[in-house]
């Protein structure tokens, strides 16, 4: 007898529909899975057999063939356990076929017949569409963001009974939903845990992160250890605007697909409610390229740059990251997506992040102060790592000094809080939206010429810098875009004057060592 059930597998951050067909016929007892399953998928046989028996069903001593269609898609992961088991029960006459028709199922089975959560439940649920859906109970919050009617499953036995109408579904009532344009989350309730009001001093650093948030400019913070680079970077994310519905869903999808193996926590830590707040990711320099940009030998998982999409990717100790890692960021920084290709599969993952780098000016961190004890060769090696192509990606490069002790002990002026600065950022983003871009960093070529006209004196200034070689032609254009953001933040309007350009120029130092390089 033949039975079939709808399910899905995840590739990258997208779900792909899979039809699970089970055929039970006479012959020597056997259990085979066909249709391009990978090893983890083939192991389903053992889990399904144990779960079926544990749940008190009969395991048919016959010839069982499981086919996973379409057969050209490589299937990975245990999320097909539950649909295989259910189709097997139907095919062996232990379960009515009718309640399963048109319903999608996801879930890994434990040997005891329990239904365990799966990685990527959100994109899986999305592809299964609007029909009824049964998912592991612990994935339910996540899934209901896109499928409000989904039901939760705790055990194989329970699912069978609920489908037959013998017992009620164990899941709680839906709490939140995203309908067509529905509202999710409540950003006011999600206050960032850190606030700019905690940062004393750092006038330049505060300005830099405000400009970075407003203009979407990638930012490099250069300074000695303990100067407050990480503190500033963490507060940048609090200045960014709330995510749109689309962005929030995309972030949730990526985090769901990344699953529990990522630093970022177990499945239950994945954003079970859509968060309106942009993510903040801070990969360590010892992370692998795969952990950083995504991929993997068996399955395509999103990396840190995708987990940071619509948010901030903070790379502390940028100079310590291997050159290959920095190189792998080039395409995503240009295009906002990352293409991950493995032997048989490829996936396009979102990677639209604001890059914030932090680095010491030299290995000991003190250059150009006479306290620096690095040899010229050490400094040169450091400078080479942080030169040309790497530096070029940062519109803003700011020197962060240890704050003046006076300002640490309350001697400084009262400082603005995140709540004070954020409206200016949002205002600037709105002005940018009026130019047809998400932020001023996106203004290139003609668009920059049109939206960032220069005062004649400012033209002379830029020409002088290019002539003297302190700015490249490209660098001059980036300074111009930053100057435009400065104007937007101040509530002014173009043309760009000399003062704005001079400040923007100072926010883009050319030498991370502060002149210590020989």
């Amino acid at each position: 007898m033949l039975a079939s059930v709808s399910s899905a597998v995840v590739v990258g951050v997208e779900g792909h529909g899979v039809r699970v067909e089970v055929h039970v016929a006479g012959g020597l007892p056997s259990f085979s899975v066909v249709g391009l399953p990978d090893a983890s998928c083939r192991e389903a046989r053992d889990r399904v057999r144990a779960a079926v028996l544990s749940a008190g069903f009969r395991f048919p001593p016959e010839r069982i063939t499981v086919n996973l269609a379409p057969t050209d898609l490589r299937k990975h992961g245990p999320c097909l356990d539950l649909p295989i088991a259910l189709a097997l029960l139907v095919a062996s006459g232990q379960l009515d076929a009718d309640p399963l028709v048109g319903t999608g199922f996801l879930g890994e089975l434990g040997l005891d017949g329990s239904v365990r959560p799966v990685v990527g439940a959100l994109p899986l649920a999305e592809v299964l569409g609007s029909g009824p859906l049964v998912v592991p109970l612990r994935n339910l919050d996540e899934v209901r963001l896109v499928a409000p009617g989904a039901r939760g499953a705790a055990t194989l036995r329970g699912v069978a009974e609920c489908l037959q109408g013998e017992s009620p579904w164990p899941d709680p009532e839906p709490r939140r939903s995203i309908g067509a344009g529905g509202v999710v989350g409540e950003s006011s309730a999600e206050r960032p845990s850190v606030d700019l009001a905690d940062v004393q001093g750092h006038p330049l650093g505060r300005l830099a992160i405000e400009v970075a948030a407003a203009g979407g400019h990638h930012t490099l913070l250069v300074g000695p250890p303990g100067a407050g680079k990480t503190m500033l970077a963490e507060r940048l994310v609090g200045l960014l605007p709330d995510l749109t519905d689309q962005e929030a869903l995309e972030v949730a999808r990526v985090h769901s697909a990344a699953g529990p193996t990522r630093p970022g926590g177990p499945v239950s830590d994945a954003p079970a409610v859509l968060s309106r707040r942009p993510p903040f990711r801070s990969p360590h320099h010892t992370a692998s390229v795969v952990a950083l940009v995504g991929g993997g030998s068996r399955t395509l998982r999103p990396g840190e740059i995708s987990l940071a999409t619509s948010g901030v990717l903070f790379m502390d100790e940028l100079g310590e990251f291997p050159a290959a890692h920095l190189d792998a960021l080039r395409q995503p920084l240009e295009s906002g997506v990352v293409d991950v290709v493995r032997a048989s599969v490829s996936a396009r993952l979102p990677a639209r992040f604001l890059l914030v780098g932090a680095t010491n000016p030299c290995p000991c961190g003190f250059a150009p102060d006479p306290r620096c004890r690095c040899s010229p060769a050490q400094i040169q090696r450091y400078v080479r790592r942080l030169s040309g192509p790497v530096l070029d990606r940062f519109d803003l490069r700011v020197r962060i000094e240890r704050p003046d002790p006076e300002s640490l002990f309350g001697g400084g002026a009262a400082v603005e809080s995140t709540g004070d600065v954020r409206p200016r950022v949002l205002g600037a983003r709105q002005v940018a939206a009026g130019r047809g871009v998400r932020c001023n960093r996106m203004l290139r070529g003609d668009a920059l010429e049109r939206h960032a006209p220069l005062h004649p004196d400012a033209v002379d200034l830029l020409r002088d810098r290019v002539d003297r070689g302190t700015l490249s032609v490209r660098g001059a254009q980036r300074v111009r875009a930053v100057a435009l953001t400065l104007i937007d933040l101040a509530g002014g309007s173009p043309p760009i004057g000399v003062d704005d350009l001079l400040l923007a120029e100072h926010l883009r130092i050319g030498d991370v060592t502060g002149g210590a390089a020989p």
Partner: protein, 389 residues
């Protein structure tokens, strides 16, 4: 022991003496004094034959930990692996010349030296050393201030026809050479390693420029790596070539101080550039001044020491426009060490925009230099060459 007769001349007959000396310079444990003793044995080709056959007189060997007998034996074994003729061809191929003590092209300043190099390997023109030479030296761990001073001195000395001599090391040496390359007169460099790798990679481009415009020379043959013990030995050549030695920045101990010792031993004038109190890179210079060395505050002091003071104005007048307004306030807040813009904003109580605007004016008018987010006063007003108005 008798010098070997003509019948012992090896196959490479016809090679110039310098070829044999150049090969001997590459033997283990051969320093300048040993090489001079080898050279004094007579015909270098015959001396090479003595080395090859292990018959070098023990009196040639330096008093070292190594017993003379085993040293002679070591040379004999080494001589089996090198051949003066192919070494000479290789030198030609690299474009490297050899001048020998007592031979043509040997620098005059070195002739009276108590410890002259027996040979010098050269890239470029040794005749540039016939000009008055000034050594501009200092630490590798320099500050922006020191490199600024060294660069200006190098340029301004070269502009009045002085040959600037230094060691092509990172820091002060490199800054002085870079300045000299802009100035006009050919510069000269004395390096401690073989001329195939004369200096740290970062300075190779500079080394090529110095060789193209002037001279890069070394006491040791190509293939010799930079060994720490060679630097003080090299420094004596720098000191010996120069009529005046200017120390721009130096710690209390270090390579520049060995150059000073060699210069004092040779009766050369030593000048030191004063620096900020508390900066380790200037401690040596300030101490030299306290001990009675001359003070160098600009090219005029060096030329006076050279006896060429008539070439430039005694005190170059400051032709920079006097700053006003915020620029003046910012300049007042700036001492000689590099400061951040945040520091300036705090000191002057001006906002960032006003500070940056002031700095732009000051930079355009030659009062300050900016690097990597830091600002410091420009070292000295660029004094023009003597023939400029």
């Amino acid at each position: 022991m008798n010098p070997a007769g003509p019948s012992h001349r090896p196959a490479g007959a016809g090679l110039p003496d310098a070829a044999y000396l150049a090969t001997m310079a590459g033997l283990d444990l051969v320093g300048p004094a040993t090489l001079r003793r080898l050279a004094s044995l007579g015909d270098p080709a015959a001396t090479w034959e003595l080395i090859r056959t292990g018959r070098v007189p023990e009196s040639v060997c330096a008093a070292r930990a190594v017993a003379p007998r085993s040293q002679v034996e070591r040379w004999r074994r080494q001589s089996e692996t090198v051949d003066p003729e192919s070494a000479w061809i290789r030198l030609r191929h690299l474009g490297i010349g050899v001048v020998a003590l007592g031979g043509d092209g040997y620098p005059r300043m070195l002739l009276d030296d108590p410890d002259p190099p027996a040979v010098l390997f050269t890239l470029g023109d040794p005749a540039v050393l016939d000009q008055p030479c000034v050594a501009v030296v200092g630490t590798r761990k320099s500050t922006g201030y020191g490199r600024g001073v060294a660069h200006d001195l190098g340029r301004e000395l070269a502009a009045v026809g002085v040959c600037v001599v230094s060691g092509l090391a990172l820091g002060i040496d490199a800054a002085a050479h870079a300045g000299a390359c802009e100035g006009g007169a050919p510069p000269a460099a004395v390096v401690g390693a073989g001329l195939d790798r004369p200096c740290p990679g970062a300075n190779l481009a500079l080394a090529r420029r110095v060789a193209a415009l002037g001279l890069v020379c070394s006491e040791v043959p190509p293939g010799t790596r930079a060994q720490p013990w060679r630097f003080p030995v090299r420094n004596r050549v720098v000191a010996s070539l120069a009529s005046v030695v200017v120390v721009v920045e130096s710690a209390r101990t270090g390579g520049s101080m060995s150059t000073v010792d060699h210069a004092v031993a040779r009766d050369r004038t030593v000048l030191a550039v004063p620096g900020p109190v508390g900066n380790p890179a200037s401690e040596g210079c300030n101490a030299l001044i306290a001990e009675g060395a001359g003070v160098c505050t600009g090219v005029g002091d060096v030329l006076a020491a050279l006896g060429l003071s008539g070439l430039v104005r005694a005190t170059p007048e400051d032709r920079r426009e006097t700053p006003g307004g915020d620029a003046a306030t910012v300049l007042d807040a700036l001492c000689w060490r590099p400061e951040s813009v945040e520091f300036l904003a705090r000191e002057t109580r001006l906002d960032l925009r006003a500070v940056v605007r002031g700095l732009d004016w000051l930079e355009r008018h030659g009062w300050v230099r900016r690097t990597g987010g830091f600002v410091q006063r420009a070292a000295a007003p660029p004094g023009g060459p003597p023939w400029s108005p």
